[in-house]
Amino acid sequence: MTRVPVGRRKRRAARAAAAAAALILAAAGCGGGAQDDPNTVTIAYQDFGTFQAADDLFTKVKEEFEGQNPDVTVELRPIEAPAEDYQTQVNLMNQSAAEAPDIIYEDSFTINQDVDAGYLAPLDEYWEAWEDAGQYNEQADAAVTALDGKRYAAMLGTDTRGLWYNTELFDQAGVDTPWEPRTWDEVLETARTIRSELGEEVTPLNVYSGTPAGEQSSMQGFQMLLSGTDGALFDEEARKWVTGSAGFEDALAFVETVYSEDLALAPRDALNANVATLNNEERIPAGEIAISLDGSWVTQSWIESANKPWPEWQDVMEFAPMPTQNGQDPGATSMSGGWTLALGSQSANPDLAWEVMSHALNEENATKFAIEGGQIPVREDVASSPEFLEASPMAEQAAALVDVTHFRPAYSEYPRISLAVQEAMEAVMLGEATPAEAAETYAQEVEGIAGADNVTSGG
């Protein structure tokens, strides 16, 4: 046996350690080989709060698809985060080729941004060859077509927003049902009646407001008001952001009224990031909120598979359209969004990913998702199926609002502008600014965000 000199032995050890470190790093660098495996399809989706429908759907898809194709693995990547953080996490995954999901559960209004970033692959070829494509309505097609004219996703379902009200509380307060307010003033009058008749125990009118509730404030709250005025956030013809409109100030004035007259939740309850979950799971079933301006999907908090099922909702809750400000045409207003399935551009096997995707979109799964997710179906066969109509008593009323609905301006400045809207609402609801002052601050912020050239005032 040869003796190895100490120095050399040490050097060997050092070299071995360096080599080991390099190997570990190399392994960490290429990371999750599974994503590059052409027989693995990863699906990233949101699994948060009361929203169980996506998790249920994809778990079912995984079981079925793997059963039919034993050599394929469907890898689920549920992300437990609120909508804004969900998007951030998916974007981070998309930045690394190894981590990028094959199928992305994606809010339709982020499609343009993600196409610009190169995260999504066009679906046109697959779509044209798909026998079910004809079932999708035009509105659903438009929402998933990017500015370059190509289709990047398939819509799972859409939604509308309106006034949910508790008929038992209305009876107690002596307000006639069915309730059909025709103007903002009628909504406020009813809320005042409920306040005076039912006292402190009941919140007459929930309107989401302020930054903690995020997009809920902006969309279910502010834009549901603004779209009922003659104002708008974005002028589609001039392709400019609008500031200083009378409608903007009026919408803020509505927020000021409900909060300053104590018709809405106390600010400490309203300025809670979980306000929607608390409302829909606790306050509304407990009879603590008379009217709530919210989405058509809130029923998913009450169905059997929910955290806290509330089967009595069908006898208690009714849905009324949100009227326009002064009852001007078309009389009612709504906002719509909708979630889609998009194909990741870094997918190792897009053909297989499409197979999984189209399986998730088939009639059976689309019906399941529409019922559990409180969605308005975009497939004709689902919308007219007795199974869906029976399971969703509010479906027809909610679907009728599609005729008067509006969409958010899906441009890259939108998230910042939405935050500026939430800040304006918060300033008004806390009494820190008058609607006029808040609108002025908003105008300055929008100019800073979009650039003075892309802003138009008045209207």
Binding site: A21, L25, Q87, T88, N91, A117, P415, L419
Partner: protein, 315 residues
């Protein structure tokens, strides 16, 4: 290989003491510590210096999480810095950060920590253990938990309002009426242990005979503290302030949990603004610029301490 090294040895002969002490033939000094350090150095450079350099680089680009800028990131020069200087949100956040830093770090933790350390001097072991356990307990609690504890204490149905109610005062919504005060208090509560411990250590090194001599000369307790103890503690104070400052400017979780930066941005410090810009809006370029600005704020404060408390002035 061994032979080349041996051959190199004669060149190093002019340093006889060294080769005499070392049994092995001499090698260039750098290689001797570089080789064993290499793996560690490599990891450090990759995982520590790498991200820092990336942050500096990103702040000169329009790097983004999504949108066209994510596909091809461009070098934008000083555009982010220009934007920073004209951004009212940044100016507000800087003010809030300085208020938070001075309130909770410089004044709160330092004064309270020093006071506690002084009070605990010459006390019985039982008192010291009890006080240390309570103060250090707060320090050990994870930031998220500390945040929730303070929310439970300050919210409208929280314990503070229950106490106020007992004495007939109207309940306040502290997290909305005084968000800065709330987060400052929480951070003082959470962080005082650190300065208390360093001051305790510093105080134990102050020679007792100096203090006794001053007392014999007729100095009151306050004068001894002011003229004898504090000057000797100067070095400790400077170090502690420096460390506390660096810790305080980067507090994120506590504020995020308690107020989320609100209401209306009134408790948005630079780390929260950075999070909002980089991750909520996906604007990595601008977010990293804010990170650098944070570094500047911390740097300025550190410079002030180093100048004010220059140890050379103490003999």
């Amino acid at each position: 290989m061994e032979s080349t090294l041996t051959a190199a040895a004669p060149q190093r002969a002019p340093r006889p003491r060294r080769s005499a002490r070392s049994a092995r033939p001499g090698r260039p000094g750098i290689a001797r510590w570089l080789v064993p350090l290499a793996p560690a150095l490599f990891l450090l450079l990759t995982f520590f210096a790498g991200p820092i350099l990336w942050t500096v680089w990103a702040s000169f680009t329009n790097a983004a999480l999504t949108g066209a800028a994510a596909a091809d990131t461009e070098f934008v020069g000083l555009a982010n810095i220009e934007r920073l200087l004209t951004d009212p949100q940044f100016l507000d956040a800087t003010v809030v950060t300085v208020v938070f830093l001075v309130g909770s770090g410089v004044v709160g933790q330092t004064v309270l920590g020093l006071a506690l350390a002084l009070l605990m001097q010459n006390r019985g072991a039982a008192v010291r253990t009890a006080v240390s356990a309570i103060v250090v307990g707060a320090w050990v609690v994870p930031e998220v938990v500390a945040g929730f504890v303070w929310v439970a204490f300050l919210e409208r149905e929280g314990s503070l309002n229950a106490l106020l109610d007992q004495v007939g005062l109207a309940p306040q919504n502290w997290l909305y009426t005084a968000p800065i005060l709330a987060v400052v208090l929480a951070n003082v509560w959470k962080g005082t242990a650190f300065s208390m411990m360093t001051y305790s250590a510093g105080l134990s090194e102050v020679p007792t005979d100096l203090k006794e001599a001053a007392r014999v000369d007729g100095a009151s307790g306050w004068r001894v503290l002011w003229h004898v103890v504090l000057p000797l503690l100067r070095r400790t104070i400077a170090t502690t302030l420096l460390l506390v400052t660096l810790q305080t400017v980067q507090v994120f979780t506590l504020i995020f949990v308690m107020t989320g930066g609100g209401p209306g941005g009134r408790s948005t410090t630079l780390p929260l603004l950075m999070y909002q810009e980089a991750l909520n809006f996906g604007d990595l370029g601008y977010g990293t610029t804010i990170a650098l600005a944070l570094l500047v704020v911390a740097g300025l404060f550190s410079l002030v301490y180093v100048r004010l408390l220059r140890p050379e002035e103490v003999r």
